[in-house]
């Protein structure tokens, strides 16, 4: 059964791991948003040589396991770029960001395409450039519509970040694996971190729901 004393004693250790999990998630999502926006712009471009590579990238990322992507970046890409002395969590963040960027691209693309074309025409008719139309008129509306989906991506990333334990990043899962192996307490440790993950994702999704209702109230 669950050895609660062990969980209690390991709390400081697990809390540190949870801190790393949130740190990695936060930066992965931030870079992921930037990557996703860029990809969405490329995919919506009129020029096929901009559109096509972005589409290929998105398909490639969505069609391969995230674990493989993490291993590829840490054991393959980093050494190739001469980043032999880099910390593993850099590779972890890079992999998660590149991955979520592909998913966010589709979220942003959908959001941008959902904006009525009359908005674009009205802005153009006032003399705005294509870039101004995007920045001042289309994106603010598209991002507001995409906010729930971005929130979901954040929750997904909290869970998926556990995969970077495979390259020995000392986040929550990795720390639990070490303790479990040392103490032969597999059930206890994995029940323990499952609870910690749940608290993190549940709190986050409640927080996002509250934020969303606030935003909605503000603009109505």
């Amino acid at each position: 059964m669950v050895n609660w004393t062990l969980i209690w004693n390991e709390m400081p250790n697990l809390a540190k791991g949870a801190g790393w999990t949130l740190f990695i998630t936060f930066f992965s999502l931030s870079f992921g948003v930037a990557i996703g926006l860029t990809l969405a712009m490329l995919r919506l471009s009129k020029r096929v040589w901009l559109r096509l590579p972005a589409a290929v990238y998105v398909e490639a990322v969505r069609g391969t396991p995230m674990l493989v992507q993490i291993l590829l970046i840490w054991f393959g890409v980093f050494p190739m770029l001469g980043l032999n002395r880099a910390e593993a969590y850099y590779a972890g963040i890079a992999a998660l960001a590149l991955n979520s960027g592909a998913y966010l691209c589709e979220i942003f693309r959908g959001g941008i395409q959902s904006i009525d074309k009359g908005q674009r025409e009205a802005a153009l008719s006032l003399g705005m450039t294509e870039v101004q139309v995007m920045v001042y008129i289309v994106l603010p509306q598209a991002l507001a519509n995409a906010l729930p989906a971005i929130g979901n991506e954040f929750v997904t990333l909290i869970k998926d970040s556990s995969l970077v334990s495979s390259i020995a990043v000392a986040e929550l899962t990795y720390r639990a694996m070490l303790v479990a192996a040392r103490r032969y307490e597999y059930f206890t440790m994995y029940v323990g971190i499952a609870m910690v993950y749940f608290v993190m994702t549940f709190t986050t999704s409640r927080l996002l729901a509250w934020l969303e209702s606030r935003l909605r109230a503000g603009s109505k």
Binding site: G118, S125, L126, Y136
Partner: protein
Amino acid sequence: MIRIENLRKSFGELEVLKGISARIAPGETVCLIGSSGSGKTTLLRCLNLLEAPDSGEIWIGGQLITDPRIRKTDVRRETGMVFQHFNLFPHLTVLRNIMIAPLKVRRVSEEEARDTALHFLAKVGLSEKAGNYPRQLSGGQQQRVAIARALAMKPQVMLFDEATSALDPEMTGEVIKVMKDLSDEGMTMVVVTHEMGFAREASQRIIFMADGTVAEIGSPDVIFNRPNNPATAAFLRNVIHM
């Protein structure tokens, strides 16, 4: 003010404008009428380059706007457009809707943009709505804000694309009144409309379009009372009976 020479435009196989020529004098209000599919909206959209004509020339204020070297944004800031579905920006307040183009396109100061916006908002009778969002307004109010938004760029020409067609009947009056006032003040206006009352009372000339051509141009008196083209008479009989 506006000179259109032999303008042609096709969408794929369909030729929508088959060589349109017309002149519009400064301060004149000209209505474009005709059945749907006659090309009047396409012609209007060519005037601010929302549609690119295939051939022919458009001159506005001495400038050849169909010249490929011209910057579209320079043309559009001089031609205000009002759309059938208002197309206000829902994420901005009424005041911000009107301020954004002067701020970002004309690059005037925040104070100047605000003063201009409040001035035109008062002109369309909606000063008290400055802080509201578009969705809190009725259709007629939204369209009046859209007119103020276009006017705030101080354009040389105003284009109206069926500005009252999406409104409930009881709201067309308030929008028509704003348009009439604008016309009386000497704004150059090109108005695509099904409002024959407005065409008759507010316009100096009416262009009747049929099948991508100008079927007849004349004063409201001529068009409504003694049209030269039998097609004009037939169209008006239908519209007025409805």
